[in-house]
Amino acid sequence: MIKPGRRFGRSVSYVVLVLIGVAGVAPFLYLLMLSFKSELQTFDVPPSLHFDWSTITANYGQVINENGYFTYVENSVIVTGISTLIALVLGVPAAYAFSRLRFRGSDNLAATILSFRFMPPVAVAIPIYLMIRYLGQVNTFPGLILPYVAFSLPLVVWIMIGFFDEIPREIDEAAMVDGLTRPRALLQVLLPLARPGMLVAATFGVIFIWNEFMVGLYIVNSQDKETIPIAASTLLTVESPINFNVAAAVGIFTVIPVLLFSIVVQRYIVRGITAGAVR
């Protein structure tokens, strides 16, 4: 028997649940609503709802055609994909070594690598920019990839150490008794077992690199190399106001890949945050 007081409490809980959902989703919906308006309609008070197909195609068409949105998507995918891959190739073996091998200073080395996760990027942004300029990689993909790998490596190592620690040592020891060297044991026996961990690490590498623009902003300065956030930041800054309806279309276009990605990898995200990742 449920007491009336409890039933009342549950109703209140559901109201609160809906309110939380609304607070989370309202800004997205508002942006979507704005992107459906013509320039004049954005100024409507009280906020109005419009759904006029020609206006919508005009706004989104401008973003695709005039601003070359798909070039940015392509650039973002290339830069994010390659950077994340390199970070995994470098970071996974290192994490494995930290998990299994004990040598003098190993804990200090691990702590040093992990602490880079918290360093203010602005402290390295200028020297990195000057380095990339020195290497002649301004306005190239390697110019973006080189620093992005360095930024996401600590995260990958951090997450992977946790996952390797969960795999019993006996498994690699058995493999080594069978005659495999340690690197071979990692490659053939442990990597398949560590796959969920690698997906978590990759997810966070992708999120971070996909959104980075502080360093990229100065390394890249021509449209054909800009990633989505770099392009968005030049389009949408406070200093260069453009029409809010078109800006909103840029915003929605930027949200969509993130939205699709988050639906696919949601469980890895929760796992990763609790392992101390994000950003």
Binding site: F103, I207, V258, I269, V270
Partner: protein, 308 residues
């Protein structure tokens, strides 16, 4: 019997200092990562330190040693202290709000409600968003003429608020938006911990006749404390270096009301090309971050973060 002895010996061997062959393996596994970070993280960080004692000449593209001049200039600049104050306020107030709300959300979601999984999914979204877009969204919502929130504020009688244009308000708007984006982070960590707690503890509490409030205060919260502290320190280190939200939302203004240390360093470096001065600002941050990191690693063992 023999097998266990052999096993024990193996374990001992693997924990002891490495034999020569093992050292080669460690080098092979760790070397590439260490070299890469040395080149693209440690080297730039050291360069920054050196540059913070130098002055950059834009015209001749040369550097001149000026000793601690940049730092003395920093200490005597009222701007710098305003910015320090902004950064500290944003960090302390923002993280406090996020910890309180995040923990409250975790406790709320601990009851079995239909549809709560969907809402939890929604809550994760803001964290993944490009900060530029977060800035755009909120600039629209808070627009003084036609923004949705502004219209609501007028409706409920608060009246027009200069969310982004009033120097006394803008920083708190930044705190608000930062909290919208990052409260879910605290929530996810605290909620995960809550889910991992053994149910018996709560059952024992109910049997003793404690009500929900008492159980939460004396049972749940103390058990959640490690996760809460972890989330708070983690979040504080991140909030302290806030850059992108400022860039997307206010560009540091009005005047300097929302300029953070990261943003000031960025402006001085990239916009004004005062590389030396910018390096000095960022080194103040590096030192503060180092203190934060030491604190964090005191709270959790580096190698066992998931049990935090």
């Amino acid at each position: 019997m023999e097998a266990t002895a052999a096993e024990a010996a193996r374990t001992r061997r693997s924990r002891a200092r490495l034999p020569t062959q093992g050292r080669g393996e460690a080098l092979l596994l760790l070397g590439p990562c260490a070299v890469y970070l040395a080149a693209f993280s440690i080297f730039p960080l050291i360069t920054s330190l050196v540059r913070s004692f130098e002055d950059y000449n834009t015209r001749t593209d040369t550097w001149r040693w000026v000793g601690v001049d940049n730092y003395t200039q920093l200490i005597h600049s009222p701007d710098f202290w305003t910015v320090v104050e902004n950064t500290v306020l944003l960090t302390v107030v923002g993280v406090t709000i996020q910890v309180v709300l995040g923990t409250a959300l975790a406790l709320f979601f601990n009851q079995q409600l239909r549809g709560s999984a969907v809402v939890r999914g929604i809550l994760i979204l803001p964290m993944l968003l490009t900060p530029i877009v977060v800035g755009l969204m909120w600039r629209a919502l808070l627009n003084p003429e036609w923004g949705l929130l502004n219209w609501l504020a007028v409706k409920v009688g608060i009246g027009q608020v200069g969310w982004l244009s009033d120097p006394n308000v803008a920083l708190w708007t930044l705190v608000l938006v930062d909290s919208w984006q990052w409260t879910p982070f605290v929530f996810v960590i605290v909620y995960a911990r809550l889910q991992a707690l053994p149910q018996e503890v709560f059952e024992a509490g109910s049997v003793d006749g404690a009500n929900w409030f008492q159980r939460t205060l004396y049972l749940t919260l103390p058990l959640l404390a490690p996760a809460i502290v972890f989330a708070a320190v983690f979040r504080a280190i991140d909030a302290f270096r806030t850059f992108d939200l400022v860039y997307g939302l206010t560009n540091g203004g009005p005047v300097e009301a929302t300029t953070t240390l990261s943003f000031q360093a960025f402006q001085n470096g990239f916009e004004f090309q005062h590389y030396g001065y910018a390096s000095a600002i960022s080194y103040v941050m590096v030192i503060a971050a180092a203190i934060g990191i030491t604190l964090l690693f005191k709270v959790v063992k580096v190698r066992r973060l998931e049990t935090a």
